[in-house]
Assembly symmetry: C2
Homo-oligomer: 375 residues x 2
């Protein structure tokens, strides 16, 4: 089954931008890229009507396995209350109380929302269960949506372990890991004041890596953190947030393969200062953009919104922001089959109702996703 | 023909917020509001599925009669080039060169985009023609979309009058006004360095008012301007931008009926500082929010986006931002039939795919408009 996408005004291909282009999809892969005028025949044909075609967005940071919302907390924060990591616990209570069906229905709705906004790969974390049963349940359910599942038992210390964090770390690296590893590709830890310190983070990630999971980390959201250098030292695929970075952190990132994943929805929704993407790019660090979709600190599911904010606030050009939201995300998942459009990559792509990807920032908030192909 | 909208989780009515509500639309008006459980029968029935129902957005500032786009200028600006009012002239050239059909097709697309995002009343300005023929053409075409048309011959001084601004003001207040007044409800002037000074603005607005047009003004976008006080003195319905205001300006606004219409899409897209809505609200000034949809300084058509930015950046609560985007807009058009939901008002309303209007700010960038009713 082949599909010709013709009349592409601007194609953002791996080897550069092409005008008046076309491409052929064969099953789940791109089989041909070239000029629209010389396109081969195919079983079906889609007219891009002069629109821009870009790779599907790769959203590498989301927390979709949850119940409840925190609209009141958001409203209070906008009236001046400070954001603290502890708010996570209210979602933990709601998530534990939810049925499998409720968790699936909520995630189904959000994944569909993401897809409609151009996201073709999504990573989903656990982290609102914080018991052996609830964490493994979340991951088991998450595998219905994506292979990119992340075990985040170390999201926050649950109330019942508040007086014995060491015992919780032992659980996370022991019985909980045993139950979760079969359903996860990645392990992650929230390394931040109010969550886990750098020694605990090291213990958690190395335990997961010993079980074959890849490492990821939350660090530098609320202040500078030794977690960033630990992530590089452990060759984590990504360290996420990176809002506060020392020069030593930036040098470490530039010297390693760990991607800096920036989450502007968080800063938008918590009124924190934005991360400085320009500094990272100028230092040679690979940058990704992701939504961090979660009911507490960033309830956006929109990669176009994140791109617009990254251009307004973080010193990225529209081209750099698009690259971070696609190829950057692929690098943060250590994938070479997604995030760019070339012969042989997966047929994950988006037709925009706009002549250029610049419009994702130039027309903020406007739904510009005309059609999404996901392999 | 009556329609019952039932199962409204939260109804934002003129007399306050109601839970588990319903309303009945009779032709173009709201005929009944009450509890969902005691709703009367109607010819058709729409289930809001527990979503929030709000008034349709009233977008009182747009420049939809244009041709071309300025994506390259936007890209250059994001790379550091400063915004200047003179960029308007490149759209003037494209607009003059466009056919009626091209202008109508572009505006049709943008009005549909606005409607899909919940806008049920839109004001449309001329201002990219700047000749008698091109300004009157723009307004004649704009009347196909809305009764809220605004003559903005005084948008910028066209190149051909650069050496004789007085002659252009004479044209705007003479032959151009004669040709445009039959197609316009309002007259507007861009009172700013690089456009028109306060004496010219006074001459232009008073000439329009003498022909029965209501007064509006652009002022305080790029710096403080005596235009704000002039707008209040002339009892203009609205003074738009208000990014830079002196204490005397705020006092003048608080003492008059002129609405301060804030346009956060402009600051987002030009990297200017945001207007301080909090200061205006605390002083008792009526505030409206609008998109300023135009290809130069703010190419968003999204009122939800403007609400989200107003909450993040301008000190408004979600409730205040919603009010500004609905009732505030109605006040800025001196209308009492739109912008709020009560028995007798127009049946312009939006069902959100969310339990509360808070989600318009809490879920930035996410398309939450489930269904739009426009009378």
């Amino acid at each position: 089954m082949t599909t010709l996408v013709s009349n592409i005004g601007l194609l953002v291909a791996a080897d550069g931008e092409r005008r008046n282009a076309a491409l052929v999809i064969d099953d789940d892969r791109i089989a041909w890229i070239g000029e629209s005028a010389s396109a081969p025949a195919a079983d079906t044909r889609v007219d891009a009507e002069g629109g821009c075609v870009i790779p599907g967005f790769v959203d590498t940071h989301s927390h979709l396995m949850f119940a409840g919302d925190r609209a009141s907390e958001f409203e209070a924060r906008m009236a001046g209350r400070k954001y603290e990591a502890g708010g996570i616990r209210s979602t933990v209570a709601a998530t534990r109380a939810a049925t499998d069906e409720e968790l699936l229905a909520n995630a189904t709705r959000l994944v569909a929302e993401m897809r409609a906004q151009g996201t073709t790969t999504v990573e989903i974390k656990s982290g609102y269960g914080l018991t052996v049963e609830d964490e493994s349940r979340a991951l088991r359910l998450a595998t219905q949506f994506t292979p990119e599942t992340t075990y985040l038992g170390a999201h926050v210390v649950p109330t019942e372990f508040a007086d014995d964090v060491a015992a919780y770390v032992e659980l996370v690296t022991g019985a909980m890991l045993d139950a979760c590893a079969p359903h996860a590709r990645w392990i992650d830890v929230f390394c931040e004041v109010g969550a886990f310190d750098v020694d605990q983070a090291r213990a958690i990630l190395t335990a997961g890596m010993a079980r074959g999971l890849g490492a990821r980390m939350h660090a530098g959201q609320l202040g500078e953190s030794a977690g960033v250098q630990l992530a590089v030292e452990l060759d984590a695929a990504s360290v996420d947030h990176c809002t506060f970075l020392s020069d030593v952190d930036v040098d470490a990132l530039a010297g390693g393969k760990t991607v800096a994943t920036l989450l502007p929805g968080v800063e938008f929704s918590t009124r924190q200062p934005y991360p400085d993407a320009r500094r990272l790019l100028d230092s040679g660090v690979t940058v990704a953009l992701a939504t961090d979709c979660n009911p507490g600190s960033s309830f956006t599911s929109s990669m176009p919104f994140c791109i617009a904010v990254a251009v307004r606030e973080m010193g990225m050009s529209p081209a750099e922001a698009l690259h971070a939201a696609t190829a950057g995300g692929a690098a943060a998942l250590r994938r070479d089959d997604i995030g760019e459009l070339a012969v042989g990559t997966r047929a994950d792509l988006v037709i925009l109702d706009a002549p250029s990807y610049i419009h994702l920032a130039y027309r903020p908030g406007v739904p510009l996703i005309s059609r999404v192909f996901a392999s």
